[in-house]
Amino acid sequence: MSAYIIPIIFIAIFCYSKYKKVNTYDTFVRGAKKSIPLVVDIFPYIAAIMVAVALLRASGITALLANALSPVFNFLGVPTELIELVLLRPFTGSGSYALLNDVLVQYGADSYISRCACVILGCSETIFYVTTVYISQTKVKKLLYAIPIALICATFGAVFACLLCKIM
């Protein structure tokens, strides 16, 4: 079902453009051209955050932190096995998908733990990555409460996901 959504949207956009007498080929090329400068602009920011995450994971600090925080998360209803996932999720997309795959393989795709992990990942974003990339092209240095609020929401999401998976 979901596989049809994108192609149908594309057909609609292309046909509508034709109908509005837009030169589809020229216009597409003009847009596509913008992708290279954009990627060149955001590459250093992506590199910086990925380097920091790689160091964090290599050092084993996340595992230690997961251990130290397990009483808090357990109290909130998040199983110990998922804490590292919850902690890493705001920083890395690919890393958290790799972790999810480990969980799926280790505990079985239909287990409670795996379902929680799926919902946690599905409802959250790589907060730090999104934030750095979004503000990378502006002069903004002070984000005030943007990141704390996003983190609160993500934690709430994780807790809520674990609760919901128990009853659904």
């Binding site: 509508y16 837009v22 847009g31 920091a52 795709a109 974003e125």
Partner: protein
């Protein structure tokens, strides 16, 4: 961001100094290489989406979409700029469809237009960042894909709980941002 990055990097290196000093540079360069290949991938993805976006833009579809979402955007962002509204409308639509990578270029454009050059994030910027960071998406396709390849009997049964949770976190995010923006405006007025 400067502080967070400093703590992450220096903390980790200190830790590794004691555990495995030779891996420091290796893992940094590995990560940077990973970032590079990610960017090449992103470049391809953005080329397609920016091409399509240009069509949406040129055909006037984006204006229609912006008009459709106008009441919502007006309420959330309190802005009065047609161009920015268009960008935000496209960003939100892409997010809802689960196209995070397509949403990014439009989000960047919108944020650029919201920047007032003062170095401090404006209320509308914070709203946009939190909306994107809480990811209101209706189709967690990657997760479902991973789950079915891991041998799940009904991989899509996590969609409903995911939608419920994502909707709640998004709502919570909006309320918190609204509240903080309100307090911020009040403090500003007091200072004056």
């Amino acid at each position: 961001m400067n502080k967070i990055w400093f703590v992450m990097v220096v903390g980790s290196i200190c830790f590794l100094l004691w555990r495995d000093p030779s891996s420091v540079l290796d893992s940094m360069i590995d990560a940077s290489g990973e970032a590079f290949s990610l960017c090449i991938e992103l470049c391809a993805v953005y080329a397609v989406w920016l091409g399509v976006l240009e069509l949406v833009e040129a055909s006037g579809l984006s204006e229609k979409l912006a008009k459709l979402l106008h009441p919502l955007i007006k309420k959330l962002f309190k802005i009065d700029d047609k161009e920015t509204e268009k960008m935000i409308a496209l960003n939100m639509s892409a997010n809802i469809l689960g196209l995070g990578n397509a949403a990014t270029p439009m989000g960047i454009n919108a944020i650029k237009r919201l920047d007032d050059g003062s170095g401090v994030a404006t209320n509308a910027m914070i709203m946009l960042i939190v909306l994107n960071a809480t990811s209101l998406q209706l189709l967690p396709s990657t997760v479902v894909g991973l789950r079915s390849s891991a041998g799940s009997t009904s991989p899509s049964d996590i969609i409903l709980p995911t939608i419920i949770v994502t909707f709640c976190t998004c709502l919570l995010g909006i309320c918190l941002v609204k509240l903080c923006n309100h307090i911020r405006d009040k403090l500003k007025r007091k200072k004056k």
